[in-house]
């Protein structure tokens, strides 16, 4: 095992991952440091083909028809030095009746000038599912630029779910852009939880198009910013089919000189569709803080508990 691989596993554990899964033959995995594939393993029904490029890795992921992958596929992407670029391109296809969950840890513990770009094209068939949980672990310098982009097509009677979490270390610059088209009776859920401080910059753009009859969509954002950090959230849901239902739910907590902006856009193009939204931006709720203080917590600890709960 190379030193870098050992360091990757150590950082992976620190970010909340369980490195022993990489020894479990039942669990598919992929470990990528910069543009080098350090480890790769697949299971029956899953085709996982990484190809190293000059600046990163191109990944082809296919879940074969009718195959539901039993254990989450573990992905580990990272740049350990303080400088570097990593570009990950994912082409994923989930065939009819198939399904997979992925758990990705993205690790940049020493970043001073690191760029991580992720570009995904995901095609989900009918009666299929794709779940993508992404956890970031950054250092404290804020020298990371993270740019994830995804275009997703969800077939009929299927679901697509993402959970993005960046609550350890400095965010740096974060610019997420996801778009999804949702078919008949299918479900879209996109959740992002981010904590920014220092001079972090957070931008989230999520668009869901509920174009299938009876489709459902939920865009949920939970962001806390303090110091001089700034966040901007654009959540857009467009319902163009009968019985389509959607909801945009955005909460941003602001402390110190931080700034936050939320733009929920809801469009309904069919008289039998319905989309709602709620957005709350501001200080931590006074009543929540005072409730915890009445149990003996000092104000700062009460605020921390409210924020950590929201980002959990």
């Amino acid at each position: 095992m190379s030193k870098d691989y050992e360091y990757m596993l150590k950082a992976y554990a620190e970010s909340g991952g369980a490195p022993e899964v990489f020894k479990d033959s039942r669990v598919a995995h992929l470990v990528v440091h910069k543009n080098k594939v350090y480890g790769s393993h697949t299971v029956k029904g899953l085709v996982l083909e990484p190809r190293e490029t000059e600046t990163g890795v191109d990944i082809s992921l296919l879940v074969e028809k009718g195959q539901k992958i039993e254990y989450p596929v573990h992905l580990c992407f990272g740049v350990l030095p303080d400088q570097g670029v990593q570009e990950i391109r994912i082409r994923a296809k989930i065939e009819d009746g198939a399904g997979v969950s992925l758990l990705a840890h993205c690790i940049f513990p020493n970043a001073v000038n690191v760029v991580h770009r992720m570009e995904a094209e995901i095609e989900i068939g009918n009666n299929a599912f794709y779940e993508y949980n992404e956890v970031h672990y950054h250092g404290t310098t804020g020298g990371v630029e993270v740019v994830p982009k995804a275009k997703v097509k969800v077939g009929d009677k299927s679901y697509f779910r993402t959970n993005f979490s960046l609550i350890k270390g400095r965010v740096g610059v974060f610019d997420l852009d996801y778009e999804a088209d949702v078919g008949e009776s299918s479900v879209l859920e996109m959740t992002a939880r981010i904590f920014g401080y220092g001079d972090d910059r957070i931008k989230i753009r999520e668009v869901g198009r509920l174009s299938g009859k009876g489709s459902r969509g939920l865009l949920k954002s939970r962001v806390a910013v303090k110091d001089n950090a700034q966040s901007e959230i654009f959540n857009e849901l467009v319902a163009s089919a009968p019985e389509a239902r959607g909801h945009v739910d955005c909460v941003e907590i602001v402390q110190g000189n931080a700034r936050a902006k939320a733009t929920p856009i809801v469009s309904v193009l069919n008289e039998f569709a319905r989309v709602t939204h709620e957005a709350a931006i501001g200080r931590v709720d006074k009543k929540q803080v005072e409730t915890l203080m009445a149990r003996g917590l000092e104000e700062e600890k009460a605020i921390d508990l409210v924020i950590s709960g929201m980002l959990k």
């Binding site: 939970r222 909460v251 709720d285 006074k286 009543k287 929540q288 005072e290 409730t291 915890l292 203080m293 009445a294 149990r295 003996g296 917590l297 000092e298 104000e299 009460a302 508990l305 409210v306 950590s308 709960g309 929201m310 980002l311 959990k312």
Partner: protein
Amino acid sequence: MKAMEGELLKIENLSLSLGGRQVLRELNLKVEPGAIHAILGTNAAGKTSLAYTIMGISGYTPKEGRIFFNGEEITHYPIFKRAQLGMTMAWQEPARFEGLTVEDYIKVGMKEKDPGLIKEALNFVLLEPREYLKRVVDKTLSGGERKRIELASVFAMKPLLAILDEPDSGIDVLALDHVVNLIKEMKRRGTTILLITHREEVAEIADKASLLCQGFIVKEGEAKEVGEYFKKKCLPCPVYNPEEKIEEVVEEK
């Protein structure tokens, strides 16, 4: 300055104004240790304002008067310091917390995080621990469930003084008996209760009661006696019934 021996809570000449309106007027109150002391009054009598002022909630700083707790003047103490001295409050409409489980919420106030006590507290308010411990204290709970969790968290904290703001509101009839039992059990375990209510039948479980009207305490004494007076003089409330005179109630101040 030390309060007189024999009082856990002592309030002297307390006056409070909110938005230019006086809501508490030269109020005096003594609560004996180990007692259930009811604060009875109709809507807008100043009951919740009194509870918030005792607990030190922001915006409820008295313009005059002093509050003593367990012999120590706490008039200008922050909320957490009052809580650390052994005082807490169950809110009439408790806050909800995204991501915080019932178990973690109850633990916040506990010095010793005894899992047995957490389960006992939930059982007391008719919430099955196995079902509720890992649930989140957010909008997925009904108002009644949230309220019972609030009472359970106060029980588990084992405070010297528990201020219970309308603990019966939003609770169904079946659970009400259990809430009453919980309050009695808290007393049995040494917690003094300041019971805020607008129902004389709830105030009946108290040892003593004070009747609050328009920010004044207009009558004090045995809970039963004050309850009967309340029923006779305050229902319907003369403040909201111009045909009767409020002076009749207030004159005893």
